[in-house]
């Protein structure tokens, strides 16, 4: 089979990129505006909350415990060298609540749900189900996009809290079983180190990440072209784009919250 290579001008690439950003922005803005327009599909929101939230629970539990335990294990050897093993609770607590809890949960949910949304909506596009929905007088943005955005942002918030807690429990297990640290000491130091800023940061991030995961997943799903191959492409792109966006936004949100609270 001959390999055909098509040369595309940089101008065309830039134009496509700008168009993609414009369409994504419109989809994201419309998904928020739909909260103030009737009908509001509460049934679909609950169904998506179950699929996204409850469905993601096993993977979030597993990664939460593992990350907490690994964080404790890796930092313990360094802390032990300086005689600061009692600080392990503080380290795990700060690490999990401000950064690793939201980030890892976000990435896990992105891998599981951004791909799911892109493939589901992409399949509906290529089989004309979205056109059928519009033809039947229903706005796909209201019926399909907004419930996913609401459910992901809402559920990721709680999934992150669960992940944070399980991470702390994982850290506690390592600290007490492997390094003989008293559990009460661990939890006291873990609790006392947290200030409002840390908790605020840890709870704002999952809402933003949930918004990114759902809007990117829906955007790639709704812009699918080219049959089943296109669905596969959209699925991959949704996971990559949402993961990269989460990492970028994470950096800037951290920086912004530090600035807001006067930390350099």
């Amino acid at each position: 089979m001959a390999l055909e290579l098509e040369l595309v001008s940089p101008f065309e690439i830039a134009k496509d990129l700008v168009l993609a950003v414009q369409e994504y922005t419109l989809l994201a803005a419309r998904s928020i505006a739909n909260f103030f327009r009737r009908p509001l599909y509460m049934g679909d929101m609950l169904q998506q909350a179950d699929l996204i939230g409850v469905g993601s629970l096993p993977i979030v539990v597993l990664t939460g415990v593992s990350i907490g335990a690994l964080l404790a294990l890796n930092s313990a050897s360094t802390l032990q060298r300086f005689g600061g093993i009692t600080l392990i609770g503080q380290l795990v607590s700060i690490g999990m609540v401000t950064e690793l809890g939201p980030l890892i949960t976000g990435l896990m949910v992105a891998g599981r749900n951004a791909s799911g949304m892109a493939s589901e909506l992409g399949s509906m596009i290529v089989t004309e189900q979205i056109d059928a929905m519009r033809a039947l007088g229903t706005d796909p943005s209201k019926k399909l996009v907004t419930p996913r955005v609401a459910a992901t942002s809402f559920m990721l918030f709680f999934l992150t809290i669960i992940s944070d807690l399980l991470g702390l429990i994982g850290g506690n297990l390592v600290a007490s079983l492997l390094f003989g640290l008293d559990s009460r000491q661990y939890w006291t130091s873990a609790w006392q180190i947290l200030v409002f800023r840390d908790v605020f940061m840890g709870l704002v991030k999952p809402v933003l990440f949930g918004f990114i995961i759902s809007t990117v997943g829906c955007y790639y799903g709704m812009s699918t072209r080219g049959g089943t191959q296109g669905v596969g492409r959209s699925t991959t792109q949704a996971v990559v784009a949402s993961s990269v966006l989460i990492l970028i936004v994470d950096f800037f949100v951290t920086k912004l919250i530090f600035a807001l609270f006067g930390v350099r």
């Binding site: 399949s123 089989t127 004309e128 189900q129 059928a132 519009r134 033809a135 039947l136 007088g137 229903t138």
Partner: protein, 281 residues
């Protein structure tokens, strides 16, 4: 050969006030990535009439249906559906027009995660109609296409012909004033195709619904032009010779993005245009 006529500005304004036509295309053009698909297409679909759209693959037949519903926007020209100029409406305003129009997609486009009941009832559920009323109307629609027994099945469990019939049931459940059929018999065996044609004729003659039907199968359109639905026997019966022009059925042939024929079965058969003669031979 009958020639297509474009409605004037004044006629178009009258159309909006008192629709005499179900669908009007006025000098409509559309291109996809510089490929011109339709160029200056004009035609009317009078109320109660069924019009078959013909043309080779890629001639823009399905595009006409999608534009009539506002799923695609033309580059130029105007489209009226039941008196509303769909080309000037926003997506939000279009939903009101779409509720008066039914469509049967080429591949049925049933929602694969919903069973037959919920597919057929989709529009009614969106309108928050009572469960009893929904059940009654779903059964009525499924009875029309003789598929009541499939009510709890998923689309994946149905044959191609059954899916097409469920799509017809979904399109007619709200008794729309216009139905758009996109290749309703495409890819089906002759027996199933005949069942579908009979359903379309039934809809035309019993409910007097206006319809645009995209098809590649001339024999289906000629069957519709030479048959009518007999309510007493609940069957499609052939019309006596000489009465063929009495059924509200017409033909529209597209070539290279333009309408090259617009008329009834007799005009089509008697056409001397070499392309049309070759097409219908």
């Amino acid at each position: 050969m009958a020639t297509p006529t474009a409605p004037s500005q004044q006629e178009a304004t009258q159309q909006a006030d008192h629709p005499a036509d179900a669908v009007v295309f006025d000098n409509v053009s559309i291109a996809f990535e510089e490929k011109v698909v339709l160029e200056g297409v004009s035609f009317r679909l009078p109320l109660g009439e069924t019009r078959a759209l013909f043309g080779v693959a890629g001639s823009g037949k399905s595009t006409i249906l999608k534009m009539a519903l506002g799923l695609l926007r033309p580059d130029s020209g105007r489209i009226f559906v039941l008196g509303e100029e769909v080309t000037s409406l926003t997506e939000e305003q279009l939903f009101a027009v779409r509720r008066r129009v039914g469509i049967v997609f080429q591949e049925s486009a049933l929602f694969d995660s919903l069973n037959v009941r919920n597919n057929v009832a989709f529009r009614l559920m969106e309108e928050h109609i009572s469960d009893e009323e929904i059940e009654r109307r779903v059964l009525e629609s499924l009875r029309f296409v003789e598929l009541e027994h499939t009510i709890d099945r998923l689309p994946a469990e149905l044959s191609g012909g059954m899916r097409r019939r469920v799509a017809i049931a979904r399109a007619i459940i709200t008794q729309p004033e216009v139905i758009l059929y996109d290749s309703p018999t495409g890819g089906l065996d002759p027996v199933t195709s005949n069942t579908i044609v009979e359903l379309i004729v039934k809809q035309r003659d019993v409910y007097h619904t206006s319809a645009l039907m995209v098809t590649h199968r001339l024999q289906d359109a000629f069957t519709m032009a030479t048959h009518c639905f007999d309510k007493k026997t609940n069957k499609m019966v052939p019309l006596p010779k000489g009465q063929h022009s009495e059924v509200p059925m017409s033909f529209l042939l597209l070539r290279d993005g333009k309408v090259i024929f617009d008329g009834d079965a007799r005009d089509l058969v008697n056409s001397r245009d070499p392309y049309i003669r070759e097409y219908i031979s």
